[in-house]
Amino acid sequence: MSNNPTASPAEPVHAHEEVPRGTIKAYLEVAGVLTVLTILEIWAFYVPSLQPVLIPILLVLSGAKFALVVMFYMHLKYDHLAYTGIFGPLLALAGFIVIALMILIAYFMGSPPTA
């Protein structure tokens, strides 16, 4: 254990390294998948037989689109894990707020009036 309380700032603890990002091809592929997923969403919306399961279908499809943009276009897949560590919990809290408000207000106000 050293008694020296200082050290030169020229001794980096962690070096900044250029992280390899996605290629143009990868970006185009992601755009293709996003397009297909959006078409699927709209298709599911117009198919009467899918109406009973439409909500889970839409949640899965929009979740997949969300993840693709965040991972590839926002580079979370390539960047330091710390950025995911920052965004992930905040996103979870955002989901918590939506659900909490829905449940608490619904419980307080009772069933919606019929239009």
Binding site: H16, L58, L90, A94, Y107, F108, P112
Partner: protein
């Protein structure tokens, strides 16, 4: 060799207080100066809040008193609460102590974003002045610091008082979020080499968790205030039952902020006490790890306890039970802290300084406030007491006897470091005893008054209710306390004018701030320290042999020994930007054209900040010596901002979903939303994200022309999206769905409109970058500037992905 500074007075050649003239403070970005400005401003507002409190105590001293009218009493009690929470305790804990001590404790030369730090302060100052300026326009706000709906609606509170309150809080919220973001990034990324999370000073832990809480708690409040402003200015009915809405929504949004806010106010205080007690007990903090985990746990649980403020609203037994349990649960980590302080005190070798006295008083008083808090975790008890003076006693013991006493302990503790002067301990003791006795005289009897049935928020009461004696007693106590605070001011002035010079390490401290001269030089540390243990400076001084002190003088700080150290240059843009923001607020309540001028100033100042520093948009480099930290602070900041923005949209989406199908009149979502058009808009926005990454790739490979063209194309698609939105809004409007028409109209326009506003800001951002690239201001080496704009752009894209599914597709199916 070592640079530890024990008792000798070592002066920096030029310290942060002396460098530059008075005007240099206006453009300073030095965290220590900004801390001082926060401190002075908060003290001034504390004086104002104290004046309001004394006036209220005179009014309540005897029954049927007419010292204050009911109206003036309401104004004072509203502004006393608002001021103490938003303009005193919060800025003292984070703005003052956070700035003064945190960067020094982690061995940093400044915070991550010095200009953002200055901006936070100036927005805070202008926001506070804006709120109080309502005094000139018909009176101060008067609907309580909690602003309960629907008392705050224009029908019940006409005039502009509440406008100032709501818009003022919106402005202050921006300041808080920017400040917290800055501290979060600083602590996460700028700790000295070797300072792992479990070696961080416990004060820094508390600032970290408090900052996170600000980032997650303020967005719901912002949304609640936006709804309130819309109700008051645009005639919406977010909190009004006439449109099928409920005022309870305000309480949820407000207390979603409000209870974490209690810990935002308390955590910095916990941190200070956790520094002061070990220092003056001559012992290390007992259970450091438990304290750190307890701090994090408090932050986590505090986000799930807000409902205990709402037991009396009738949330139902399940919600009541859930919030009762979570509220009791938060007492556990808080109890761990109290236990740890007491265990640290156990068999300590006490040094009876004023700071230590305040810390001891804190432990007792905060525990008292905490215990009555646990009482209110039980709905049946809370129902009896929530509207009574018992609650007034409870929260004053937590925030007054707790936070404020801790801040006074911290003030005495860090005063020598901050000013380079010692405080007079004799005056300090007078200050302490008068304040402590006065505080307990004022607030302890309020428990009796509450149990005796005296309601809160009343401006007078009748004789013969047996409340006279204790009310008079409380009033006398308030004046004793005010006298005590007067002695604090005397002690401060005496110290600054005649106080003896402070050594670098007057208390034989344990943390890094004591290793540098008092007051610190502008650059803080001549060399960034390496940390090997959690009590870094203690270990440097004593190593593994407690009996062997190694006193060595910090000769490096004297003339001729300091290497050239780059410190951030002053900037006029923060104050300019804050002034522009204040103009926006003034324009909203006075004359809308002023808002346009304000917005123009804000835009120009942001552009100024964006391109001001010579290294903007560049990666950290070894040559400049700014690559010593593990992550890029700007990127950490951007992701944190995006996360916080997610909570803003979550509150909007949550409100939309909660009100869905509750319209009293049509048309509703199901009848009016047009899927083909929106599907096209969605596709356009998704493709704009593709163009954005292509633009970034262009700048990164040095093909500026291609990058610029892709930027223009991205902004173009953004404009097409906005055009589609404008078409949709226009169509709905002509079909009778206005902002005021029904719940669907107001929640839809607000949610989708705010998203559109974000798209518009994104378009402006991208166009600014594109035009700047014509002037060679965005070359290859500055491609990061484009990446940050891109992150924001993709964020508005992912928000739309959620809105498209939840609002358009699902609503078409499930909407009433």
């Amino acid at each position: 060799m070592a640079v530890a500074v024990p008792k000798e007075v070592v002066k920096a050649r030029e310290n942060y207080l002396t460098e530059g003239g008075l005007l240099s403070w206006l453009v300073t970005v030095d965290h220590k100066r900004i801390g001082v400005m926060y401190g002075l401003t908060s003290l001034a507002f504390m004086g104002l809040a104290g004046f309001e409190a004394l006036a209220m105590r005179i009014q309540l001293a005897q029954p049927n008193n007419h010292f204050l009218s009911a109206d003036l009493y309401n104004q004072f009690f509203t502004m006393h609460g608002t001021t103490m929470i938003f303009l005193v305790i919060m800025p003292l804990g984070l703005g003052f102590f956070g700035n003064i001590a945190m960067p020094l404790q982690i061995g940093a030369r400044d915070v991550a974003f010095p200009r953002l730090n200055a901006l936070s302060y100036w927005i805070f100052l202008f926001g506070a002045l804006f709120m109080y300026s309502s005094f000139l326009f018909g009176g101060l706000p008067d609907a309580g610091w909690f602003g309960y709906a629907n008392l705050t609606e224009r029908f019940f509170t006409p005039g502009s008082r509440e406008d100032f309150w709501a818009i003022g809080l919106l402005i202050l919220g921006i300041s808080s979020i920017l400040g917290a973001l800055n501290f979060f990034v600083t602590i996460v990324n700028m700790r000295a080499p070797g300072m792992t999370f479990m070696r961080m000073p416990i004060f820094v832990w508390n600032i970290l968790v408090a900052s996170v809480l600000v980032l997650v708690a303020f967005p719901p409040l912002t949304v609640g205030l936006v709804f309130l402003v819309m109700d008051r200015f645009l005639g919406t009915h977010f909190y009004s039952t006439v449109a099928g809405a409920t005022p309870i929504l305000w309480q949820h949004l407000f207390w979603l902020f409000g209870h974490p806010e209690v810990y935002i106010l308390a955590l910095p205080a916990f941190g200070i006490i956790s520094e002061v007690i070990p220092c003056f007990s001559r012992k290390p903090l007992f259970g450091y790890a438990a304290m750190a985990y307890a701090t994090a746990l408090i932050g986590f649980i505090s986000y799930g306890v807000w409902g205990h403020h709402m037991f009396a609203t009738g949330m139902g037994p399940i919600a009541d039970a859930a919030f009762a349990l979570s509220t009791m649960a938060i007492a556990i980590p808080t109890g761990i802290k109290v236990y740890s302080w007491v265990a640290t005190l156990w068999r300590g070798n006490f040094v009876w300084t004023t700071s230590f006295l305040y810390a001891l008083a804190f432990v007792v008083q905060f525990t008292l406030g905490g215990l009555t808090g646990v009482m209110h975790a039980q709905p049946p008890i809370d129902l009896q007491q929530t509207g009574s003076y018992f609650i007034v006693a409870h929260f004053h013991y937590v925030l007054g006897g707790g936070s404020l006493f801790a801040f006074l302990a911290g003030l005495y503790y860090w005063w020598p470091k901050m000013t380079g002067r010692m405080m007079n301990e004799k005056l300090g003791r007078i200050n302490f005893w008068l304040t402590c006795i006065g505080f307990n005289m004022t607030f302890f009897p309020m428990h009796f008054l509450g149990l005796g049935g005296m309601p809160r928020r009343i401006y007078t009461y009748g004789a013969g209710l047996h409340w006279d004696f204790w009310n008079m007693f409380c009033t006398i106590g308030a004046f004793v306390m005010a006298t005590g605070i007067l002695f604090l001011l005397i002690a401060m002035v005496e110290s600054l004018t005649r106080g003896p010079e402070a050594p670098a390490d007057p208390w034989d401290g344990r943390t890094l701030e004591w290793s540098i001269p008092s007051p610190p030089p502008v650059y803080n540390f001549a060399e960034i320290p390496h940390v090997h243990s959690k009590d870094a400076f203690w270990e440097m001084k004593y190593g593994n042999n407690p009996g062997h002190k190694v006193p060595e003088v910090a000769a490096e700080h004297e003339a001729g020994h300091v290497p050239h150290i780059h410190v951030p240059a002053p900037s006029m843009f923060p104050i300019l930007l804050a002034a522009g923001l204040a103009l926006c607020g003034i324009g909203a309540v006075a004359w809308l054209r002023i808002t346009l001028v304000g917005l123009l100033i804000v835009y120009l100042a942001i552009v100024g900040i964006g391109f001001e520093y010579p290294t903007y948009g560049e990666h950290p480099s070894k040559e400049r010596g700014d690559d010593i930290y593990p992550l890029d602070s700007r990127k950490v900041g951007m992701w944190t901002f995006i996360g916080s923005e997610s909570l803003f949209f979550a509150s909007l989406i949550g409100t939309y979903m909660a009100y869905k199908g509750r319209d009293l009149i049509g048309p509703t979502a199901k009848e009016i939303l047009e899927i083909p058009l929106t599907s096209f808009s969605t596709f356009v926005l998704l493709m704009s994200s593709l163009l954005m990454v292509l633009a970034l790739a262009g700048f990164e490979r040095g093909d500026i022309k291609a990058g610029r063209n892709w930027l223009f194309a991205t902004a173009g698609l953004g404009c097409i999206f906005l055009g589609g939105q404008a078409y949709e809004f226009n169509k709905f409007y002509h079909e009778g769905v206005t902002l005021q028409h029904n719940l669907f109209g107001q929640t839809f326009y607000t949610l989708v409109g705010f998203h559109g506003l974000h798209v518009l800001l994104g378009v402006i951002w991208l166009l600014t970058l594109a035009f700047a690239s014509f002037k060679d201001m965005v070359p290859k080496k500055r491609a990061l500037a484009v990446e940050f704009g891109g992150l924001y752009w993709h964020f508005v894209d992912i928000v739309w992905i959620v809105i498209f599914s939840l609002v358009y597709l699902m609503d078409k199916v499930t909407g009433a």
